[in-house]
């Protein structure tokens, strides 16, 4: 044991960490709890924590009003599609930056990141006009492309940092054995980089899932994902906290569950090469 710790100290740590963790998690917990209340219970003073009549009514109402599965499927297709496409395009680029670096590599990398700083609102009209011309409004394909381009810099950068950690000697050994460039990437590099690619995949799916500007402005009915779903539940007439909570829970649950199950990969992915 590197650091000897008394049981007492550990207990204090536990209490403190749990308190902070629950505090941070509380808004989500509260939303989930509220989604099972009636509208009147949702605004009850004092607030009701666990002792109320649990009801699924809000979920039924939300489902009846908007076809959740369709929004969900669009979200999955758009977030997944854009990320996978981005990774396919980014792998070769990240490979060449990591293993055949030139003087300009870092400049290119930083330039790529800087494209993310373009304010989306400023280019909404141009993009909208282009989309009309291409007939891509309200299509999943169009959104997959836009979100892929939005996240490509992050994907390239993340992959680059992972690839850089792979020792070059292995590649040379492979080359000695007669592996061509294709084999090298496919059979040597990619398997070694799988954890890194997985993390990149996860993080970018989350980013794409939560993207709320383009997904809202470039869709109508057919390609609308969960961000549009939620836009029909903000401040309607009358009491709406419980229904809003139910809709919110439905919108965030899939990604929350995915995130929790894969948090190990994600945590590694979040380091951005900041940690060796």
């Amino acid at each position: 044991m590197a650091r000897s710790v008394t049981q007492q100290r550990k207990a204090i740590n536990t209490v403190a960490a749990w308190a902070v963790g629950l505090l941070i998690f509380f808004p989500i917990l509260w939303t989930i709890l509220t989604s099972f209340k009636t509208e009147a219970q949702a605004i009850n003073d004092p607030p009701l924590f666990f002792f109320f009549d649990w009801t699924l009514e809000n979920y039924a109402v939300v489902q009846e009003r908007s076809d959740y599965m369709r929004f969900l499927w669009n979200s999955i297709a758009i977030a997944g599609g854009s990320t996978v496409l981005g990774i396919i395009i980014a792998i070769p680029a990240a490979w060449s930056m990591a293993f055949v670096p030139s003087k300009r590599t870092k400049d290119i990398l930083l330039w790529m990141l800087s494209t993310k700083m373009l304010p989306a609102v400023g280019v909404l009209y141009p993009i909208y006009l282009i989309f009309i011309r291409l007939g891509m409004l309200d299509s999943r394909t169009g959104l997959i492309i836009v979100l892929m381009l939005c996240n490509l810099p992050i994907i390239v950068w993340m992959l680059y940092t992972y690839f850089k950690e792979i020792p070059g000697e292995i590649l040379e050994a492979a080359r000695m054995d007669g592996a061509g460039l294709k084999e090298e990437i496919l059979y040597v590099l990619t398997p070694m980089a799988i954890p890194g690619i997985a993390s990149t995949l996860l993080l970018n799916i989350i980013l794409a899932w939560n993207e709320a500007f383009w997904t809202l402005n470039l869709t109508a009915a057919k390609a609308a994902p969960l961000t549009a779903f939620i836009a029909s539940y903000s401040s309607p007439e009358g009491l709406f906290y419980a229904k809003l909570s139910a809709a919110s829970t439905m919108a965030i649950a899939p990604i929350l569950i995915l995130g929790w199950f894969s948090q190990k990969q994600l945590v590694r992915g979040l380091t951005f090469g900041a940690v060796k």
Binding site: R70, A220, K222, G238
Partner: protein, 436 residues
């Protein structure tokens, strides 16, 4: 839940498979998430049963998002929607740009002549009707009869602002969370500015003089805003600067407002015993005045219109005919009761004894709508039309920014004078940019 969803998905697939047999036309409808529209969406099965060859796609969005989406789409001719839910502000502007399909050729059973003249006038440009009203509204005073009684006052049918202030003072009981008056404070041309512009008319104020010069430096605006601030800070609920229609509705339904001056459509919500804790204690009166000849009530209608870029114009019209017909009114009445039918669009509704019996607010609503005069909104002559808005394309942007200044004043972040000075400066600036 999952089982349910799976079943829903499966049945949806089955329906789609069945529907694919015949050639279907899809009509995409952009609408706002107000109660009446949600109800329409729920009743749409009735329409698809009559028209199996038309498939409806709904895009239901919160008002601000909807407005942004449809304006963006129509201005750049995106053609994403076949039916758009727009207000009386947009209709004349868009019609002048030839962006809307004329509805002159609606069938005679639809009975365009039955539409209330005040509403129909606002939707007609150069003699052509460009939108069909789904529901119409004015604004009026909704008050708690029990609290008025407790305060020892009696609400006249046509109160003055001075009386409103007296009543607000009498009803306020902050310890039990009862606030004498709830008014819109949330920034937005369709939120606080709708109320304030209408209110300012009754104080003799106006947005522009006949040379299109902004008038926020006038004494009348100062009186208006000072009076409003005085009411709200002394007798209003906390955080009023973020309260819009929905927030106030919720407050009123919970019994926290003595009076609420807002849209007439709210009357059916506050008297609905399922949602409102004060359903049986609500009275109605005309919006207040100051004896200057104008009342502080507005005129608005949510309408359905067909954008010129639609590729399903006929089907879209068929849908609009259904949604704004007399038989839709009857359909709602049979399912939800007469009190819940979309109000304020047709003369025949206000001659229907069933409706008049079920809706205690009907008469006051009709009187309020008829009392509004969009072509002559203020005491002095003005170059624009619109009671609570100015029907020029720039107004939405200007109105929201002015609304933000007034909202900041209500939040105590600046004085009335500062807010008016900023409003004057930014309006002048924007009007210059627009080339006036």
């Amino acid at each position: 839940m999952y089982l349910r969803n799976a079943l829903c998905a499966a049945s949806a697939l089955a329906v789609m498979a069945a529907g694919a047999v015949q050639a279907e036309t899809t009509v995409t409808i952009a609408t706002v998430n107000n109660g009446d529209m949600i109800r329409m969406q729920g009743l749409a099965d009735d329409f698809t049963a009559q028209h199996p060859d038309i498939k409806l796609e709904w895009v239901t969005l919160e008002e601000n998002v909807l407005r942004q989406r449809v304006t963006q789409d129509i201005a750049s001719k995106g053609g994403q929607f076949d039916v758009m839910t727009i207000g009386t502000y947009e209709v004349p502007i868009w019609a002048k740009n030839n962006w809307l399909v004329s509805l002159n050729d609606m069938p005679s059973e639809w009975d365009a002549d039955d539409i209330l003249p005040a509403i129909r006038g606002g939707l007609t440009v150069d003699g052509n009707l460009y939108a069909a009203p789904f529901y119409g509204e004015s604004s009026m005073v909704m008050y708690r009869t029990d609290l008025m009684e407790k305060a020892g006052l009696e609400m006249p049918d046509a109160p003055t602002w001075e009386f409103i202030k007296e009543a607000a003072a009498g009803m306020t009981d902050k310890d039990s969370e009862v606030y004498g008056i709830c008014l819109r404070g949330k920034a937005g041309w369709g939120e606080n500015m709708a109320f304030l512009t209408a209110m300012s008319n009754s104080f003799g104020a106006k947005w522009f003089d006949e040379n299109w010069t902004a008038q926020f430096d006038s004494e009348a605006w100062k009186t208006t805003l000072t009076f409003y601030m005085d009411l709200m800070t002394n007798y209003g609920p906390p955080g009023a600067s973020t309260n819009g229609f929905n927030e106030n509705l919720s407050l009123f339904q919970q019994g926290k407002c003595g009076m609420w001056i807002d849209a007439t459509v709210a009357a059916s919500f506050v008297t609905n015993p399922n949602d409102s804790t004060v359903a049986d204690k609500v009275g109605f009166a005309l919006a207040p005045d100051n004896g200057l000849g104008k009342r502080g009530n507005w005129l608005w209608a949510w309408t359905l219109a067909v954008p010129a870029g639609s590729d399903a114009t006929d089907e879209a019209k068929t849908f609009i005919e259904w949604a704004t017909s007399k038989s839709y009114t009857e359909l709602v009445a049979s399912k939800e009761g007469w009190a819940n039918v979309p109000p304020g669009t047709r003369t025949s509704l206000y001659e229907n004894q069933n409706y008049l019996d079920a809706a205690p607010f009907a008469e006051m609503t009709l009187n309020s709508i008829n009392a509004a005069d969009p072509t002559n909104p203020s005491v002095d002559p003005v170059p624009y039309t619109g009671v609570q808005f100015v029907a020029i394309p720039e107004f939405a942007g200007i109105g929201t920014q002015v609304g933000q200044e007034f909202s900041a004043a209500l939040a105590g972040q600046q004085s009335v004078d500062e807010a008016l000075a900023k409003a004057q400066a930014l309006t002048t600036d924007e009007m210059e940019a627009a080339g006036y």
